[in-house]
């Protein structure tokens, strides 16, 4: 997997530009609402050295990993079923798109009542955000597998299950991966949002608490950690995504 010079230099230049804008904004606005990049990094380091911080990080990580796993598995299964079954696809696709369109936060009270104020509700809320793009991308990818591949499968006498396993899934993989990439971002948004609205632990809870107490250092440091984590993973996923698409 070799990246071109522009693919490596581009994000670095953008990051430098963003840091410069951030620093300028800090000079303009001041300590009342912002911290400089240097102060934020220093405070983030300090936060990481506090034993009281780690349970929040672990809680968010646990919720996010579980939500992402559920979103991916559920999205893949639903997407493949709807993509391979024309009738099922015609019936359920509009519902899936409707669910995608509505603000998921309106469903959070129902999730809280169903799962209680704890890890399960956050996982459910994260998964609710993430599984729909995975399902939609997988459905379209399965539908768009080139008919000649399926015909080749028939000539080679593949069973229906083998057609799915050995032809549909690998042929659809680049599109599925794009769905997983989008699902990753939305699952993260869902998980942190869940923690912000109703939770007793986690980075989202820390953020809301800091907003209430006007702890600008905490707000900036936690936000920076979330942004860095999302950016690094997204960059890696995008590189894999491009690599997969290159062969097709």
């Amino acid at each position: 997997m070799s990246l071109t010079r522009i693919e490596i230099l581009g994000p670095i230049l953008v990051s430098v530009a963003l840091l410069a804008i951030w620093q300028c904004a800090y000079w303009l606005i001041g300590d009342i609402a912002l911290r400089s990049p240097g102060q934020t990094v220093r405070f983030a380091g300090e936060l990481l050295s506090r034993p009281t911080f780690w349970p929040h990080l672990v809680e968010t990580a646990k919720a996010f990993v579980a939500a992402l796993a559920i979103a991916s598995l559920l999205g893949l299964t639903i997407g493949l079923l709807l993509g391979l079954g024309k009738t099922a696809g015609d019936v359920f696709e509009p519902m899936l798109i409707a669910l995608y369109s509505i603000p998921k936060v309106t469903l959070y009270p129902i999730l809280l009542l169903s799962f209680g104020l704890g890890l399960s509700a956050k996982i459910a809320f994260g998964a609710l955000h993430g599984f729909i793009p995975v399902a939609l991308f997988t459905m379209n990818a399965a539908r768009n597998v080139r008919p000649i591949f399926l015909k080749t499968g028939r000539v080679m006498k593949l069973s229906r299950w083998d057609v799915v396993r050995k032809i549909v899934f690998p042929a659809a993989l680049p599109e599925i991966f794009t769905g997983l990439r989008v699902g990753f971002s939305l699952t993260m948004i869902g998980t942190v949002l869940g923690e912000m609205f109703a939770s007793q632990r986690g980075l989202g809870y820390l953020l809301m608490n800091a907003i209430g107490l006007h702890h600008v250092d905490v707000i900036m440091a936690v936000t920076l950690m979330l942004v860095l984590f999302a950016a690094v993973i997204s960059f890696a996923l995008l590189a894999i995504d491009r690599h997969l698409h290159k062969r097709f």
Binding site: F149, K151, T152, V155, M156, K157, I167, A171, R247, F248
Partner: protein, 271 residues
């Protein structure tokens, strides 16, 4: 391998195909009735105007499409909408799996058929050598030209050692020079394997160069108007296009096809 061209290998009797239109639309009579015997080890080509049902005929022979009426018998067994053992198909469209290497593409059918790994490796290596793909064994199809990808598809079919090879315009997407060279490759493979070959093509010169017999199809519904015997020796190659006899064969094919092609074009104009 000597060609035993006396025994009937595939037999079509009164084969007809009608496509039913969904929603009560008018049915489309695509093919037939067709009666044809393919002899074991012969190279048979079919030419015909666009939309005459050539590919439908091939799909019927492959067992990919069930007939509406009539029977297709391959090695004394009727074909009923399932691909029989011993039949290989190469399509016009690029059917290489882009997620697999060239080697894995060629080995795909063998692995599916449960052939032991050592035998699979041996056959794949032989096919790579035969098709001149040895140095591209670990490449992916996207790294190959259109002609090379088509060779991979032919190799994937050949390793299964089919006794009947169906070629659906396999060189349709290639340039003229590559088509001539690929034609020579196919002739060589035909001589070496002794398989019966059924080739669908829209190119009269391709059919005239490759086949022992050429079936000329009518405009839709496709029927066999004439079977032209070329009389070429089995060890022919592309230099045959320089002979006066080649010109006579193509002229004869065009005589039959001219009116049918005009009918086909007229039908398209009226749409």
């Amino acid at each position: 391998m000597p060609h035993d061209t006396n025994k009937v290998h595939v037999s079509l009797r009164h084969v007809t195909k009608t496509f039913r239109r969904a929603g009560g639309g008018q049915d489309v009579h695509a093919l037939g009735p067709i009666d044809l015997d393919l002899k074991r080890g012969e190279f048979f080509a079919v030419v015909g105007p666009s939309g005459c049902g050539k590919s439908t005929l091939l799909e019927v022979l492959a067992g990919l499409t069930p007939v509406t009426d009539g029977t297709v018998v391959f090695e004394d067994q009727p074909i009923h909408g399932n691909v029989p053992d011993g039949v290989g198909v190469v399509f016009q469209e690029d059917a290489c799996f882009p997620w697999m290497t060239v080697s894995d593409n060629i080995a795909f059918g063998l692995r599916q058929a449960g052939i032991p790994a050592a035998e699979t490796a041996r056959r794949v290596a032989a096919a790579l050598e035969l098709m001149g793909l040895g140095q591209f064994a670990r490449s992916h199809p996207a790294q190959l030209s259109g002609g090379m990808r088509q060779r991979v598809c032919i190799a994937r079919t050949l390793v299964l050692q089919p006794r009947l090879i169906l070629l659906d315009e396999p060189f349709g997407a290639l340039d003229q020079q590559t088509r001539l060279l690929m034609g020579e490759e196919v002739l060589r493979l035909w001589r070496e394997t002794g398989a019966t070959i059924f080739l669908i093509t829209h190119a009269l010169d391709e059919a005239a160069m490759l086949a022992d017999r050429i079936g000329v199809m009518s405009a839709r519904p496709g029927r066999l108007l004439e079977i032209v015997e070329t009389g070429w020796a089995p060890d022919r190659d592309s230099t045959i296009v320089e002979t006066p006899e080649f010109g006579q064969v193509t002229a004869r094919l065009w005589q039959w096809l001219r009116v049918e092609s005009m009918k086909s074009v007229g039908r398209m104009d009226r749409r």
